[in-house]
């Protein structure tokens, strides 16, 4: 059963019960009060009539100057009294020894035997409400001592109006209760329907997100709870979308890496296998041929070793404990440039090294040297013949800046964004240039080393060409790496 239908039925039931209980309770109390009041008034009137009769008898006795009136005289006074009351709202009837003495009066309701027996047999007044001739009467009865004799007086007061009014009120309450319950329940139905509408939209959005449409966002409308719910669902969807994108990106990278790695390993292995097979099956190999084939096998083996070394280095950069010490930039770069010299010779490249005087920095010498060597190696690979690789190093109060710029082919924004990813190798021209190896490991390794030094590495490529690698280190930071670079 739909929620709105449940709420509607519950509201309707509750409203009908509430309205009925309240209305009927008020009505019953009011009616009970009315009946009690009418009975009280009838009894008061009954007592008043009894007093009047006593007074009438006394008056008659004094008028006749008698000590006591005879039974017949009392009967005559009672008959006259009953006659005088005819047509009044209250009808009177007198009994002596359970026999009526005031004659029959059609206006007087028939007295129930049980009621009359109670009255005749007991001293206290009694009352009963009865229906007679389509009217309702309160019948009161009590004893009355007149001239030493015991009489019984009955009075009947018309209370039809009270019952008619009560019946009208009941009818009114029925109509009002049903109408008001229906109206209120309908209003509540509309209200609930409108209130729950955002929930339906949210439900629809969740279903679409679950089906894979992570870019969908739920509309934040309705009451605060629904807005919060939609907001949280949007946050969740955004988070899922980011994670999925990241996972996808990593998966793509890995796929590319595996493809490249397979390709890179397959090429030298094919060469090695081919030339080794020639050496194995050829009966006569000249010295020149053996040297040539051997050199190829050695070179290809070097490539494989370089590839495995880079991977091992990356793993070490992540896991090995570092040995930090204060380094002088000038002497440090001298060593780096000397080590990188063999890389420059093939393309006849030059390194321009400009170091601010007195610049020192805190680093693990071997690891940081590896970082710079990799950056320079990449710059070499990206450069054309006879170009210049510029190295700059300077410092301010808190930081030390390194900048290695080449004049090479540069990088696209996409390449810049992904260049430092572990397995990213997009441009074949950058992956392998003249026997150089670039499987996307170099810059990833550099970035990892910079991070271990609590530094950051940026890559930029101006439109006019060339690529600039900037590394910023903090001058002072703890070994526990608690101080973070900002």
């Amino acid at each position: 059963m739909k929620l709105w239908l449940k709420v509607f039925l519950f509201s309707l039931t509750f409203m009908v019960l509430a309205v009925d209980i309240v209305a009927y309770t008020i009505l019953i109390n009011g009616f009970s009060t009315s009946v009690t009041r009418e009975t009280d008034q009838a009894l008061t009137h009954h007592a008043s009539v009894s007093t009047m009769v006593s007074g009438q008898i006394l008056y008659e006795r004094l008028r006749q100057s008698k000590l006591l009136l005879t039974f017949e005289e009392v009967g005559r006074v009672l008959k006259e009294t009953a006659e005088q009351r005819r047509g009044n709202e209250t009808v009177i009837s007198f009994y002596y020894n359970a026999e009526p003495i005031s004659g029959s009066d059609s206006a007087m309701p028939n007295i129930d035997p049980d009621f009359s027996r109670e009255v005749f047999e007991n001293d206290q007044p009694y009352s009963v409400i009865i229906d007679y001739n389509d009217k309702s009467f309160i019948l009161c009865g009590s004893h009355l001592t007149l001239e030493g004799s015991d009489y019984v007086i009955f009075t009947a007061s018309d209370v039809t109006q009270v019952y008619t009014q009560h019946a009208e009120q009941l009818q009114f309450v029925q109509i009002v209760s049903l109408a008001s319950a229906g109206i209120i329940a309908t209003i509540m139905l509309l209200f609930i329907f409108l209130s729950l509408k955002p929930l339906s939209e949210i439900n629809h959005s969740i279903r679409r997100i679950a089906e894979g449409d992570y870019s969908l966002r739920a509309r934040e409308t309705g009451s605060q709870e629904f807005r919060e719910l939609a907001g949280n669902i949007n946050i969740m969807a955004e988070s899922i979308e980011q994670n999925v994108t990241e996972i996808q990106r990593v998966a793509d990278g890995r796929k590319r890496f595996i493809d490249s790695l397979a390709h890179e390993m397959k090429t030298p292995l094919t060469s090695i296998m081919g030339f080794a097979d020639i050496l194995r099956i050829k009966r006569s190999v000249t010295a020149k041929e053996r040297e040539e084939y051997g050199s190829i096998i050695v070179e290809e083996t070097k490539r494989l070793r370089s590839l495995s070394g880079k991977l091992l280095e990356l793993s070490s950069a992540r896991n090995l404990p570092l040995d930090f010490c204060e380094l002088d930039a000038k002497s440090f770069f001298s060593e780096v440039c000397i080590a990188a010299k063999p890389l420059l010779s093939d393309k006849q490249l030059k390194i321009s090294c400009r170091i601010q005087k007195g610049t020192t920095f805190r680093a693990d010498p071997e690891l940081f040297k590896s970082l710079l060597y990799n950056v320079i190696e990449n710059a070499v690979k990206a450069s054309r013949r006879k170009q210049i690789i510029t190295i700059k190093c300077w410092h301010d109060t808190d930081r030390v800046f390194f900048n290695i710029t080449d004049q090479g082919i540069g990088m696209t924004p996409e390449e810049i964004e992904n260049a430092a990813d572990l397995f990213y190798t997009n441009n074949p021209s950058r992956t392998k240039q003249k026997g150089g190896i670039n499987l996307g490991i170099g810059l990833a390794l550099c970035k990892e080393i910079a991070a271990r030094h609590n530094g950051i590495m940026d890559i930029s490529s101006p439109p006019e060409g060339g690529t600039a690698i900037s590394i910023t280190l903090l001058k002072k930071w703890g070994d526990d790496n608690e101080t973070k670079h900002t």
């Binding site: 008061t44 007074g55 004094l62 100057s65 007991n122 206290q124 001592t145």
Partner: protein, 306 residues
């Protein structure tokens, strides 16, 4: 589809039950009919305002024949006049002291009787000044050693509105209600064995002295009572019991009164209270007491003994 049909059916049934229940509730509501209920007797004002069309001649004035009455100088009757005058003065001083005359001997001179000298002595509309100098009127009747009628009033009578009469009638009824029950005369009485009204300490079968005036619950009422009805009876019953020639037992029986049933009418500036008296001797008697609503006191009575 099946579930929708079930839901719709359930909803329809529920709505039908609600509407039917709402319409059927009145059938089970109480109507309070045909239930015989006992009640306490209503304490209503038990007096009747009579717009009298006839003149009421209260005993013994119904037998009064003014044309045949005279004041006789008969030595035998003169003694009776004096005795009646004394008793009248005695009653007024005890019961209605505010109407005591300045000259205490005047009443005997104003009494008259039938020309043959027998029967009842009357004094009618006798005007005199009380000890405060106010003009008063006296009506009285004396018969065989007993004052059977006495009624004092001030000459100037104020007229009361019907509302004032009703208000005074309610107050009077309240006072009557407060002393309803048995009243006992003062004196030595013979208590019968097993008498249910035997006071504490009285031995059955012995003559016993009972002092004061008691109600059914033996609470003492005195002439100083704030209730004018109690005050009146506290003085009135001992007065009736006082004559020494009466047998105490007879006095006891004659003047034991039942105030549980009484009738009151308003007539000629007064409330006339009819008190039912108990008749052990099967004698009929009627006691009417006159209550003046303006001064709030009983100002007379008519005691009819047969």
């Amino acid at each position: 589809m099946k579930r929708n049909i079930l839901n719709i059916t359930l909803s329809a049934v529920l709505i039908f039950v609600l509407i039917a229940g709402s319409l059927l509730i009145p059938r089970v509501l109480p109507q309070y009919k045909n239930q015989v209920t006992a009640h306490e007797a209503k304490d209503t004002a038990r007096f009747k305002y009579i717009n009298a069309t006839d003149t009421l001649d209260i005993y013994p004035w119904d037998q009064y024949a003014p044309d045949s009455y005279t004041r006789r100088q008969n030595p035998m009757i003169e003694g009776t006049f004096l005795e009646a005058g004394e008793l009248l003065l005695f009653h007024i001083s005890d019961l209605f002291p505010q109407f005591l005359p300045q000259d205490e001997d005047i009443f005997a001179q104003s009494l008259y009787t039938e020309s043959d000298g027998s029967g009842t002595l009357y004094i009618k509309d006798y005007s005199y000044n009380n000890i405060d100098g106010k003009s008063c009127l006296l009506n009285a009747a004396y018969e065989y050693g007993t004052l059977i009628y006495i009624r004092c009033r001030y000459s100037a009578q104020k007229e009361l509105s019907k509302a004032q009469i009703n208000q005074a009638g309610k107050a009077l009824t309240e006072n009557l209600r407060n002393i309803n029950g048995w009243l006992y005369a003062d004196g030595s009485v013979y208590m019968s064995p097993g008498d249910e009204f035997l006071p504490e300490g009285v031995i059955n079968g012995d003559a016993a002295e009972i002092s004061g005036l008691f109600m059914a619950d033996y609470s003492l009422i005195t002439p100083e009572s704030k209730n004018p009805i109690s005050s009146f009876f506290a003085s009135f019953l001992p007065l009736l019991a006082a004559p020494p020639e009466y047998d105490y037992e007879i006095i006891w029986k004659e003047y034991e009164m039942l105030l549980t049933d009484y009738s009151v009418i308003y007539y000629d500036h007064y409330f006339i209270i009819n008190v039912d008296t108990l008749n052990y001797s099967d004698d009929q008697s009627a006691l009417y007491i006159f209550f003046d609503p303006i001064i709030g006191q009983i100002v007379g009575y008519s005691h009819h003994l047969l």
